[in-house]
Symmetry: C2
Subunit: 437 residues, 2 copies
């Protein structure tokens, strides 16, 4: 473990391949009210419950008529009025016109709507202005022109934004079937960590990774399950892993931060190994985040279930589901954030049932030079300014930091600037990739 | 009213100018727990409660030592061990080294940390490998190097993302002062509208704008206050406006959808005028969304307060605050969404206390030609694909629609493609602006 360093591309491909397999196993579903559905992922296709529009609909305020008659610019007798919400009226007879409002059903017999602004009204009649033409179908949307009853409008895996919510409302979907959010256990490790509410003693710092990872998990569509910080002892770590990995906990993903380097108190890999983990990689040629670990854990091994009674152990084993994937993220906050976005977020997207996994890089123009360095794909904390003239790319520059523990610098960032190993030294003005934070 | 059509740029500038004035009046604040602070806007600066790091900190697992001694490659006697969470130890005397872990405080007297991988350990001593050098300060972050106690780390107006939450945690800010979300009254109008749960009768459709606007308001950082659909009568509309604009309702913004065209039942402008509205514009040269209306309403006029007793009226007037801005959005869903994003979202950002107002356009490469048209700035429902090769812009194409009432098409979109009036006809491969939905 530890020397098996993949390139960034290889590590990303390993995660993508695992995630793509995982998509085959659809997550469990739940029902949510439309008002709470924003950001959720559709688990059943949304189908039209009726034609859209449900009736031939006027798109203008004006006069429903027969196009060939109106186009002769003669007088048409006004015989009725229909506004939005009225039932379809008619029939409209030859030589007649019918006042109609936007959104109203077009009377039977009419095949066009002359715009209000294009006619003159004379003593109960209308006449199309001489310079205007009118063709059949003008200013009318035919019944079913946008969707026919039963048609699939949104496929499974669609993320529900405002537009999709409007469409669901139009179809009468007051309740939507969505995938359950992946439940992500967050285990931060380190004897130096104290809770946010506590004043650190000598040599201690507050645990900033737990709330940061919780916010990252939530923004990636997951349900964070935050453990108290775990002491740097094999026993404490094993107990926490056992708890998170127990089938009863129903975690979908395990994130550990800290303890993945080569030091004396880097206990995460040994604890995972002892719990029966398979490792897919134990490092990547990236900076920060080089010691990142990816693998999976049987939900419960016999070793882990020691202490449970035989009967209970049997029943737990019987209900054990697919293995629990995990990431061991380096403990420095910048490293944790980068490795989360690069590797954990795409896997979470797959677990959430999304069709597009990411990571979603964005193109920007470099405005300040960055110090070059070879051999690693680097991700520098950076600030992107999208407030640029029309037709320009957003501008980005690296933020000065004092290493990957520099939270003050991280707080001034809104993205990471990617410097691929094959292009370590972009010049000012070059297009570069950024990963929004 | 109605013929006073600004260009898109003029209309956007009018909103931006109003929003910028509005920023001067900071919104009310509230306190939230850190775990609920994601996406909120900071109302008090975040300051360092202590130096960061609070002690000289090792960034590596290795051996604390004096750099000039270690660089001579002689043996240094191991006299102690410090791991993360230990109080600062020492003093480290001449000729000594001290085992140290990442994150641990550097013992007094040491000025560098030799990496674990760069030394050999021999019988209680270490020796730096011959090919390695060590300079003072190596692998140490000095106390206060990232921030000094009392330093402002995040200014007022910062949107709190995962990085800012981590920084707040590090500073012990378990509770954060944030701006109250702007409260946005959503009034949808139209006799044809029935609630989502209802099967529409002949000529009726479900109200899709109310849930769509609620989702847009929430995603723009606001608190949606959704009214039931309002009938197309002056009395119903006036009563709803009066309710939304009463000081007791404490709305910050009023959104009306529908009823802003020139038709017989387009009652929104007259009802607003009757309520004492000032109009900043009553149309813009955009498609869709041409009839969009922007103005402000005294929170309560004498006219509106008819029916209240004199005493009550006096007390309401005395507490009346700044005027209530409003947008009248065209009722077609595509028009409502476009005009919300172009005009309402930037004003909401100002009301939420944000420093950057938007709208935030993104650059993409056009992959299919679009039919040209002059004289209006157009916003076509479009689909952007960010899954492109390294170093390329996202790709965008317009989605075929059947007019601005086509919700089925809108549901397949993730952005609007902007075609400025001065560049109505971009070619395939051109860079174009999109507005993410």
């Amino acid at each position: 473990m530890g020397d098996d360093l993949l390139s960034y591309q290889e590590a990303a491909a390993r995660v993508a391949s695992f995630a793509t397999e995982r998509i085959q196993t659809r997550p469990a579903t739940e029902r949510v009210e439309l008002a709470y559905a924003a950001g959720r992922v559709l688990a059943k296709p949304l189908c039209a419950d009726a034609d859209q529009p449900p009736f031939a609909r006027s798109t203008r305020d004006g006069y429903a008529c027969r196009a060939d008659e109106a186009a002769q610019h003669g007088l048409l007798r006004l015989t009725g009025s229909t506004h939005a919400g009225s039932p379809p009226a008619g029939p409209l007879l030859s030589g007649e016109a019918w006042e109609i409002m936007t959104g109203a059903p077009v009377p039977e017999g009419a095949d066009a709507v002359a715009m209000l602004e294009h006619v003159e009204v004379l003593d109960g009649h209308i006449r199309l202005h001489d310079e205007r033409k009118l063709k059949p179908g003008a200013n009318i949307v035919a019944q079913g022109a946008q969707a026919v009853s039963g048609e699939e409008l949104l496929p499974v895996g669609t993320i529900l934004g405002p537009a999709q919510i409007a469409l669901a409302a139009a179809c009468g979907a007051a309740i939507l079937h969505v995938y359950i959010r992946p439940r992500v256990a967050i285990l931060t490790t380190g004897d130096e960590l104290v809770p946010v509410q506590t004043t650190p003693g000598p040599g201690q710092i507050r645990n900033s990774n737990a709330p940061m990872l919780a916010a990252l998990v939530a923004s990636a569509g997951g349900d964070p399950w935050v453990f108290p910080a775990i002491a740097d002892t094999p026993a404490a770590l094993s107990a926490a892993i056992k708890h998170a990995a127990s089938p009863a906990a129903q975690a979908d993903l395990l994130l550990l931060s800290g303890g993945v380097s080569a030091g004396k108190f880097d206990l995460v890999e040994p604890a995972l190994a002892k719990a029966g983990a398979s490792f897919f990689f134990t490092g990547a040629q990236i900076q920060p985040g080089k010691p990142v670990v990816f693998g999976e854990l049987k939900h419960c091994s016999n070793e882990m279930l020691k202490g449970f009674g035989d009967l209970l152990r049997g029943s737990i084993l019987a209900t054990a589901e697919s293995p629990l994937p995990f990431f061991g993220l380096p403990g420095n906050p910048v490293s944790s954030a980068v490795t989360f976005l690069l590797f954990a977020a795409p896997l979470m997207a797959a677990m959430a049932g999304c069709r597009e996994l990411g990571p979603h890089f964005v193109l920007a123009r470099l405005t300040e030079s960055v110090p070059g360095k070879n051999g690693l794909t680097r991700f520098l904390p950076a600030l992107c300014d999208a407030n640029v003239p029309m037709g320009s790319l957003p501008e980005v520059k690296a933020v000065a930091t004092n290493g990957s523990g520099d939270l003050a610098a991280l707080g001034r960032c809104n993205c990471f600037l990617m410097l691929p190993d094959e292009l370590p030294n972009p010049e000012v003005g070059d297009f570069v990739r950024i990963l929004p934070l």
